[in-house]
């Protein structure tokens, strides 16, 4: 029983961070119909930014979010403005391949700049796990979970209660109608890409103390991100949250009760099944 509860808790905690990665990707897809293959690299950049903040300036990674999130937003805006904008009219597939090239470029530039040395972030306060009711909860993961929840709530409020947020949702629902209603969809696109990138970077910052960092970690994360957003339904934020938590659970419980070797396989099989039989996601809220 303890094993079960422990796996459940671990899975949910990890899942919350996965969800953050997924939200960024799904928001971009919802508005712009772009599947950004370089998303994993954005997370990676966030991770490294957190690492260097701590190493060079002594700033605690969780605090550095305050500076890094806006920085990543700016990065996203720049990427969209100078790189993607001209490519998008070429079609979905072209854009997909373009982001694939971008992913390769960023990951390998990082590899060149920072070498393949894996790094970890050690938190002086995070060495021993918390043990509420005898369940081990690593400190870094707990804080990450808390902040992810906070960010997601803030996002929720933004999308629901502000004009810009509503404009984003409107464009995501029906681009033509949004244009007719006077929404500047181009501006929305820029904002959304920036937002998605900021979310990815933030996810990276929150993840960094719980994982190790290396420049090609994006490869691993991007596949997980796709599984998440497809599970939850492309374009749906609550879907991405649910998808992230679900994947976290599947991996955790799968590793314990099925086999560690096949746990990734479980994710892929689930992914294929959803793609085939419920392309709108498990909750039917996704777009095609």
């Amino acid at each position: 029983m303890e094993t079960f509860v422990q796996s459940l808790v671990s899975g949910l905690l990890m899942g919350s961070l996965y969800a953050m990665i997924g939200i960024g990707l799904t928001v971009i897809f919802g508005v712009m119909r772009i599947i950004n293959l370089a998303h994993g690299e954005m997370v990676m950049l966030g991770m490294f930014a957190a690492f260097f903040s701590q190493k060079l300036f002594g700033i605690d990674p969780f605090l550095s979010v305050l500076a890094l999130a806006p920085a990543m937003f700016a990065v996203g805006v720049l990427i969209y403005r100078f790189l993607l904008r001209k490519v998008i009219p070429g079609g979905e597939l072209n854009t997909l391949l373009y982001t694939a090239g971008m992913s390769l470029l960023v990951a390998n530039l990082a590899l060149f700049a920072w070498s393949g040395d894996y790094r970890t972030i050690t938190l002086s306060y995070g060495l021993a796990p918390l043990r509420p009711l005898g369940i081990a909860v690593p400190v870094a993961l707990a804080i990450g979970f808390g902040m992810a929840a906070a960010v997601t709530t803030a996002l929720w409020l933004f999308l629901g209660a502000t004009d810009t947020g509503r404009a984003i949702r409107a464009t995501s629902q029906n681009r033509e109608a949004a244009i007719l209603m006077g929404i500047d969809v181009e501006k929305v696109a820029v904002l959304t890409f920036g937002l998605g990138t900021a979310l990815a970077g933030t996810a990276g910052v929150l993840l960094a103390p719980s994982l190790y960092l290396y420049p090609t970690v994006g490869e691993l994360l991007i596949v997980k991100s796709f599984v998440i957003v497809v599970l939850g339904g492309l374009g749906s934020v609550p879907g991405a949250i649910a998808g992230g938590l679900l994947l976290g659970l599947v991996e955790s419980l799968g590793a314990v009760y099925v086999s560690a070797t096949y746990k990734d396989g479980l994710g892929y099989v689930l992914f294929l099944l959803v793609l085939l039989y419920r392309p709108a996601g498990l909750f039917g809220v996704g777009k095609s």
Partner: protein, 327 residues
């Protein structure tokens, strides 16, 4: 191009290919050329599905891997000589592509691409864990290739020439198959599907059949490439033949060379291999940085690829020369 001109071009190409090993004695250079030929086959394989049918697959390494494993297993466990093993590898990959197609073709566009990604990763997991068949992470090693006598001489498998000849043959076949596809009715269907699948269905094209056949051809070519890899590099393990990097390289080559053209994969392979080697040597930097950069540059500025753009330019000039307006 007129048929005579095309035939002449093919003949010249064939002559150049045949003459090369006589002129280039340097073993390492020949090795690079062999790599180019192999990548052309793989690029052509992807091109058939991606360039002609417009279905972007990120999992072609799975088909390559099936070919590589089939050839090497048949040789090491059943004593089937590689010259039979390679086409058998191709056929195995073509067969393997059917279930893949059945699963993935229900999806369109980016969903299809993601599905192929998942399938390829699953293939790798299977290869890693199905030890009784694939030897798991240990893989297979060929130490000696079988004796073969051709035209009275024993083939020296230590030399480059036999592999060069084999690779050239495979490349010729791949390009020839692509050219025939383009001329055929299936080719026309593929163009229709690529441009607008729903419209194609509406006018009565059996899109499912067309896609499955194309994937089978694509798989066959990829499998041939895999079988060749097994014989030339002699060591097959899951990471070497089923990794996602391979799938991506199979995309880049026709992309850079020219999607939907016959010679695009060759141009792409030449370009990327030579630049890759040069970069590795000169800058000590992973060639992947340049692959990524080229991908981005090509898509942004040269979406038809290098050969595609060149072909367009040639066609344009020829029309001008003939005094016919752009048609």
């Amino acid at each position: 191009m007129s048929r005579r001109a095309a035939a002449l071009a093919w003949a010249c190409g064939a002559a150049a290919v045949a003459a090369l090993p006589l002129l280039v004695k340097n073993a390492f250079l020949l090795h690079v050329v062999i790599l180019i030929l192999m990548w052309t086959v793989l690029g052509a394989a992807w091109n058939v599905l991606g360039g002609f049918a417009g279905q972007v697959s990120f999992g072609h390494a799975a088909l390559f891997g099936i070919g590589a494993y089939t050839t090497i297993i048949l040789f090491l466990k059943a004593g089937v000589a590689p010259w039979w093993g390679i086409p058998l590898g191709g056929m195995a990959a073509a067969l393997g592509s059917v279930p893949i197609g059945l699963i993935c073709f229900r999806l369109r566009g980016p969903y299809f691409s993601l599905a192929t990604l998942a399938v390829a990763e699953l293939a790798k997991l299977v290869a890693l864990n199905w030890e009784s068949v694939t030897n798991g992470p240990v893989g297979f090693l060929i130490t000696d290739l079988p004796q073969l006598r051709l035209l009275g001489h024993a083939v020296d498998w230590e030399a480059k020439t036999p592999f060069y000849a084999l690779a050239a043959l495979l490349m010729g076949f791949a390009l020839f198959a692509t050219a025939r596809l383009r001329q055929s009715r299936l080719g026309a269907y593929l163009v229709a599907i690529r441009e607008n699948e729903d419209a194609a269905e509406a006018i009565g094209v059996d899109t499912v059949r067309a896609k499955v056949l194309t994937l089978a051809l694509s798989g066959f070519l990829a499998g041939l490439g895999g079988g060749f890899y097994a014989c030339y590099f002699r060591y097959v393990d899951p990471d070497a033949v089923l990794n996602i990097g391979l799938s991506m390289e199979m995309v880049f080559i026709p992309m850079v060379g020219g999607l939907g053209t016959v010679c695009g994969p060759l141009v792409g392979a030449v370009f990327l291999t030579t630049v890759g080697e040069a970069v590795r040597e000169r800058f000590q930097v992973g060639h992947l940085i340049f692959y990524g950069l080229f991908m981005m540059i090509v898509i942004r500025f040269l979406p038809e690829g290098i050969w595609g753009r060149a072909a367009l330019a040639l066609r344009g000039r020829r029309k001008e020369a003939k005094g016919v307006g752009a048609a």
